[in-house]
């Protein structure tokens, strides 16, 4: 008697018929216990135990489906044989069959039924006589099965038992499904929060735009929420501008976190102004020492001068840079392996003379963009976009190129860095005056400077600060450079060049030691040293240089104008 499930139900055995009212009461009880469960594993364990008791069976077990592996795993087991953790293949044994067929399985003579898996009995000495197994059903198919073994009274399971167990399986399946959906939801929300955090962290790593007069401009467009690409630029104490473009292998959160680490590592390794190949080697060593998961970082690092006449760079698994000389393109490859793979990798530095040309560095996401036919646009496609927008200033140009790329199909994070001589007309002389180096002449100088700044359209609050800073510089020249012993003149010139105001103060006093000119911390209630602190906080940068010929100093102060500072 091994026909299909329920095909030939065994004859009813006396006493197997259950009181309907008792069954319903138990069902209600069980449903409630499962519904209010907080710890599903513990509730399930208690539920299976109660089901075993209610069904008058010697043992019961609950199997859950691991759909990815095609396996069923015993999660709860009640009875003399411990089977928790037992894994069986889908379709195997009574449990496997119940799930695959999504049908109840009744076994009345386990010894002869070919469907029965007997491994448990052979190991434990337990004798399985009768089995009843029902699938745990959900809207998206069975998620496991509930099985009971051997009736206490020695009888065999029948159709009434099967119907009762099917009823009890329903709230059990529902509770498991709800718990899973709740867990998925929590995981999704956590993931969303983590992604948002990672995205914000990444954004904060990108440098602020250098502004007018700055030769390096970057842009980054993530293909998804977060990026594996990054770029950076910073000015070294010697005035050179350092730049970095990077592309981390892989996608998703772990790639994003590696990007964050790689970005800070490359900045750290570049602070000392090492040759670009040495800079890469240092970052590579550090990345190799700490990354073991096979991920790597492609990067390009280098320096340029403020006028972007020459670029000194080195690459690690990075696409060749593109140089645009009035529509004629050249490519420069700096071959080296990506960072994070070979501890003693060597890199190759290249020196490129730009002399008015424009250099584009781009991550491979830019040339990987697909055209309408699904083919990568390649470097040829990129050149076309670059040529099309070459007349624009760097920032709008990059935005326009990215808009073209976005119009096609972006498959990877895309990053561009442009290096070119800042576009500017000839420097514009705004003010030129020479005064005797005497305190009594400062008032007139301030008035003249104030007027010049007003004519140029500098907002009043900034104008007053600039006048103060220049006045303080003059005061210091009078008091410290000339001092009581000598006298002479102060020559002030103010130029405007590409959004930057340059104040130049020349004297013919004995050379002073620039290292002795230091600001005191602001907010400190102490007389003296305030003047340099004012200059420091008003100006973007300043320096003192000796005039040729061993006599006289030149103090140069720069103020970059935000677009709104000029009215």
């Amino acid at each position: 008697m091994s026909a299909g499930p329920l095909a030939s139900p065994p004859p009813p055995v006396a006493g197997s018929a259950r009181d309907d009212a008792r069954t319903l009461a138990f069902l209600a009880d069980l449903s409630q216990a499962l519904a209010v469960s907080i710890d599903l594993d513990r509730t399930l364990s208690a539920a299976v135990r109660r089901i075993a008791g209610f069904m008058h069976s010697q043992a019961a077990s609950l199997f859950l489906l691991d759909a990815n592996r095609g396996m069923l795993e015993c999660r709860v087991c009640v009875g003399p044989v411990e089977m928790t953790g037992l894994r069986i293949a889908l379709g195997e044994g009574i449990v496997g069959r119940a799930v695959v067929e999504d049908e109840c399985q009744i076994v009345t003579d386990a010894a002869t039924d070919p469907r029965v898996w007997r491994g448990g009995d052979e190991q434990s000495g337990f004798v399985t006589r009768s089995l009843l197994c029902v699938p745990l059903r959900t809207a998206s198919g069975p998620i496991g099965a509930l099985e009971i073994i051997n009736r206490d009274d020695g009888g065999v399971f029948d159709a009434d038992d099967a119907e009762a167990l099917r009823l009890l399986a329903a709230p059990t399946a529902l509770a498991i499904n709800n718990a899973r959906m709740a867990a998925d939801l929590v995981a999704q929300q956590r993931l969303r929060r983590e992604f948002e955090l990672a995205r914000r962290m990444q954004e904060s790593l990108l440098p602020a735009a250098g502004g007018a007069g700055f030769p390096v401009t970057g842009i980054n467009l993530p293909a998804f929420e977060i990026s594996g690409d990054f770029y950076d630029h910073f000015t070294l104490p010697d005035g050179r501008i350092a730049f970095v473009v990077g592309d981390v292998s892989g996608k998703g959160l772990d790639a994003a976190l590696l990007m964050v680490r790689a970005a800070s590592l490359l900045r750290w390794a570049g602070k000392d102004g090492l040759a670009p190949d040495v800079w890469l080697a240092r970052a590579n060593e550090e990345l190799c020492a700490t990354s073991r998961d096979g991920r790597f970082v492609c990067a390009l690092v280098g320096y340029c001068d403020r006028e972007a006449r020459r670029v000194h760079l080195a690459g690690a698994g990075f696409p060749p840079v593109l140089v645009d000389r009035d529509g004629h393109f050249e490519e420069f490859l700096s071959g080296g392996p990506p960072l994070g793979i070979l501890v003693d990798a060597r890199f190759e530095a290249r020196d490129i003379a730009l002399d008015g040309a424009t250099l584009y560095a781009y991550s491979d996401g830019a040339s990987d963009v697909r055209d309408a036919a699904g083919r990568p646009i390649g470097v040829a496609g990129l050149r076309e976009f670059v040529r099309r927008h070459a007349a624009l200033a760097p920032e709008p140009r990059l935005a326009a190129i990215l808009a073209e790329l976005r119009h096609l199909k972006l498959v990877d994070d895309t990053t561009f860095l442009v290096i070119e001589t800042p576009r500017a007309g000839a420097p514009e002389m705004l003010f030129d005056a020479r005064i005797p180096a005497e305190a009594g002449c400062l008032c007139d100088l301030r008035a003249g400077l104030r007027r010049a700044l007003d004519e140029f359209g500098v907002a009043a609050d900034l104008r007053d600060k600039l006048v103060l800073a220049v006045d303080e510089a003059c005061t210091n020249i009078i008091r410290h450079a000339y001092g009581a012993q000598s006298s002479g003149t102060i020559h002030l010139r103010l130029c405007h060049d590409a959004g930057v105001l340059a104040f130049e103060l020349s004297d013919d006093a004995p050379p002073i030691d620039p290292d002795k000119v230091r600001p005191k911390p602001l907010g400190e209630c102490r007389a003296g040293g305030l003047g340099v602190a004012f200059i420091d906080s008003v100006m973007d940068d300043w320096h003192i240089e000796a005039q040729p010929g061993g006599r006289g100093n030149r103090l140069i102060l720069h103020k970059r104008l935000a677009p709104r500072s000029v009215t």
Binding site: L442, R446, K465, T475, R479, G523, L530, G531, A533, F534
Partner: protein, 111 residues
């Protein structure tokens, strides 16, 4: 039109500054403040007519403030002009000095 005027108020002294306080006469401002503090338990410096002040002028105010604190006298800035306030803010000293809106606050403070 740079000027220093002193005016007794009750037991105290009000020093009224006008014009552009810079290196050319900030030493005079300093002397006037320190002199007043030697003779009075309360000194106010009125700055409403000051159109410009540099670090040497601020230094004179700082010295007066410290001097008063040491001797247990009262030292306040009165009616600070926008120009002066901007420089005090730049120096991050705007919260260091006691500042009152007008001379009447100085009179009531003494009584």
């Amino acid at each position: 039109m740079n000027s220093i005027q002193s005016e007794p108020i009750g037991e105290g002294m009000l020093i009224r500054l006008a014009g552009e306080v810079d290196l050319s006469w900030s030493a005079d401002v300093r002397r006037a403040i320190l002199d007043a503090l030697r003779q009075h338990r309360a000194v106010g410096v009125e700055l409403s007519a000051v159109e410009y002040i540099d670090s040497s002028g601020i230094a004179a105010l700082v010295e007066g403030f410290q001097n008063a604190r040491t001797s247990g006298s009262r030292f306040v800035l009165v009616a600070v002009s926008d120009a002066v306030r901007a420089v005090l803010e730049l120096a991050r000293l705007d919260r260091v000095f006691p500042i009152v809106a007008d001379r009447s606050a100085l009179e009531t403070a003494q009584s």
